[in-house]
Amino acid sequence: MNNSIELKKNIKDSLFTGLIALAIFGPIVGLRTRLQKEGLYIDPQWIMVMFLVVGSAVGRFLINLNSSRTTEIAFVKRAKLNITSYFSNKGKHLAITGVLFAAAYPFLPFTDRYMLDVGIMVLTYIMLGWGLNIVVGLAGLLDLGYVAFYAVGAYSFALLSTTFGWTFWICLPLAGIFAAFFGILLGFPVLRLRGDYLAIVTLGFGEIIRIILLNWYDLTGGPDGIGGISRPSFFGLPFTNNLKEGENSFHTFFNLEYSTAHKLIFLYYLILILALITNFFTLRIRKLPVGRAWEALREDEIACKSLGVNPTNTKLTAFSIGAMFGGFAGAFFATKQTFVSPESFTFIESAIIVAIVVLGGMGSQTGVVLAAIFLIGFTEIFRELEQFRMIAFGLAMVLIMLFKPKGILSNREPTIKLHGDQK
């Protein structure tokens, strides 16, 4: 319904947008500073700026056009609704298909070493997402420092492995316990904080851990990190090609040609199992009183108190259990890399995991999977555009908040039904 007044307004708006774009892109993009021997100099990039300014103005123009067409929006709305209801109804089937796919993944035709690596990375983030989901999604405690527990798990395993030589399976539960302990340590100071303040303090906590890891050279090796972490073995059979006389390794035991892929595939199934355990645990605990208390706490803490629910214990359990799974994931990370350093545990990791949970739909297990695949998988594949990757990531966070603030899958099914599945 474009009459000339609308059009004039639109053009004025777009020109204004272009002007703002000029201010935004002009100095930072247009006047690129480069280094040469004498110092910095300016390398103008006017073409780029022009491109961006015109693009912004035109983009604005098109958006304005689109927003006045109401019928189009209804169609898009219906499409969105169909997608989300499809996922919610077929939830269980989708989940089973997903698990089967994941189980078969290493043996699929297109899965080469690189894809297997990506798969392991995605699963690691899925597990971290499921772990953080307990704290953020279920209990509603915005933790921006989750990477701290990941780090504690990784470093505890690294230290136990290099100091005592214990195997992965012994160190794993210990890593979880250490991480859980740190979870309680974090939980205590933040008990009375809400929302934004809680977020900042947890962020600070994550940073404190990282700085300590970076500087406490004697314990953590500082920026050098800890190396020589024991590699995983298959029930005692190492994945190696260097064998002593009379010893068996994985490939000799099963009469296979030695391949480095074996270790990788084993690691893949390891993280898959760990992630699935996290998932089953979460699904079960949601049906238990403590899980319900977490969700009730998220909904209304004051109402919880009035019903006799102890908010302190509830919060501490959420933090410690969420941290524990982060610790498990950390132990896995350490054994996969056989080397840990503080660089792997920056704030951006916490931000990515939070993004996965929120984008997936707070509390939704399937949502976390979808968000992780989307965010990590696709951006990994487009690794070439490394720097734009992070910009796209940040934009994705903003855009999803603008258009679907409750996340992709925000439908919540009750954990218990009076009328069964008749409804």
Binding site: I20, A23, I24, G26, P27, I28, V29, L31, R32, T33, R34, L35, G39, L40, Y41, I42, L142, L144, P189, R192, L193, G195, D196, Y197, A199, I200, V201, L203, G204, F205, E207, I208, I211, I212, N215, I302, F347, I348, A351, V354, A355, V358, Q387, F388, M390, I391, F393, G394, L395, A396, M397, V398, M401, L402, P405, K406
Partner: protein
């Protein structure tokens, strides 16, 4: 003793930078109740624009005072555009939404800004030769000579001038009144004819302008910047805002001074590796024991 005085001087100078950034946090939190996670990166952008402006003006033969003035105004102008745009794109649409949405959006914006600058300007640090040189020396006979540079004096005076200016703005002008009204009750303010959207936009513009001044100061003082300075400075400035009492302008400045002093003192007397841990610890202790800060108003939760 002389060493202590030097740390004092350095701390006040650093504190001015943090204080100016902290004002942005406290004003935004006061009016729309959210932590503008991207504010630290606005400061970073101000620093970049300042350094670019200095490079350009360095090629001309304009006198130093004028260069400073022009760079100041240019920085403020362009950085204000950033602040305004971020608010319009990422926060305004989420005003009615649930609690976490603006925070996540701000987080996303912060990531976008950092990487935008990284892509556009390159990931390496940017350095510039000292622009304001010259210093005063004290206690020249003793073991430790206390140096107060012209730059430090300039920074503190500029900060005081800006503080005075903005306090006047907030307390005596219509704009300030409108802002205070919006802080108390947005709905009522709009019913009384105040343009709430515009007031909020102006808040962001003011906050961003002050952050850009801090950015310019950072460039002059340290001479080296990179795209990551916003993150750390942002957290410390936020700590300052909370310490001083969120929502209070003088509180933000006071908090900034205290944080600056703590950081410099800790660095000077204990260890410089863990100075950031000191800042974070102050944050945690403040939020646990004095959540309303030093000059803030106590919040009574309505049941």
């Amino acid at each position: 003793m002389e060493y202590f005085i030097q740390q004092l001087v350095n701390g006040v100078t650093l504190g001015s930078i943090y204080g100016l950034i902290a004002i942005g946090y406290t004003m935004v939190y006061g009016i729309i109740g959210m932590i503008n996670f991207a504010h630290g990166d606005i400061f970073m952008i101000g620093a970049f624009i300042a350094i670019i402006s200095f490079l350009i003006f360095g090629l001309t033969s304009v006198a130093l005072p004028f260069i400073l003035l022009f760079v100041l105004l240019i920085s403020m102008l362009f950085t204000a555009c950033y602040g305004w745009t971020v608010e319009k794109l990422a926060y305004k649409p989420l005003r009615g939404s649930f609690r976490l949405a603006p925070l996540i959006s701000a987080l996303g914006m912060s990531i976008v800004l950092q990487n935008f600058v990284q892509v556009a300007q390159g990931a390496r640090t940017k350095a510039i030769h000292p622009i304001i040189t010259g210093k005063f020396e004290f206690f020249q006979e003793s073991d430790f000579v206390v140096i107060i540079s012209h730059l430090q004096i300039f920074m503190v005076l500029l900060t005081i001038a800006l503080m005075a200016g903005f306090t006047f703005l907030i307390t005596k002008t219509d704009l300030g009144r409108a802002q205070r009204a919006c802080e108390q009750d947005k709905t009522m303010a709009s019913l009384l004819g105040i343009n709430v959207d515009r007031t909020i936009s102006v808040t962001f513009i003011i906050g961003s302008s002050l952050a850009s001044v801090a950015g310019m100061m950072f460039v002059l003082y340290y001479g080296v910047i990179d795209f990551y300075i916003g993150f750390l400075a942002g957290i410390k400035a936020f700590t300052a805002a909370v310490l001083g009492g969120i929502g209070s302008l003088p509180g933000a400045m006071l908090g900034g001074l205290i944080i600056g002093l703590i950081e410099v003192m800790w660095s000077g007397y204990i260890s410089s590796e863990y100075k950031d841990v000191a800042a974070f610890s102050v944050l945690i202790i403040t939020l646990i024991f004095f959540p309303t800060g030093l000059l803030g108003k106590p919040e009574i939760e309505k049941v």
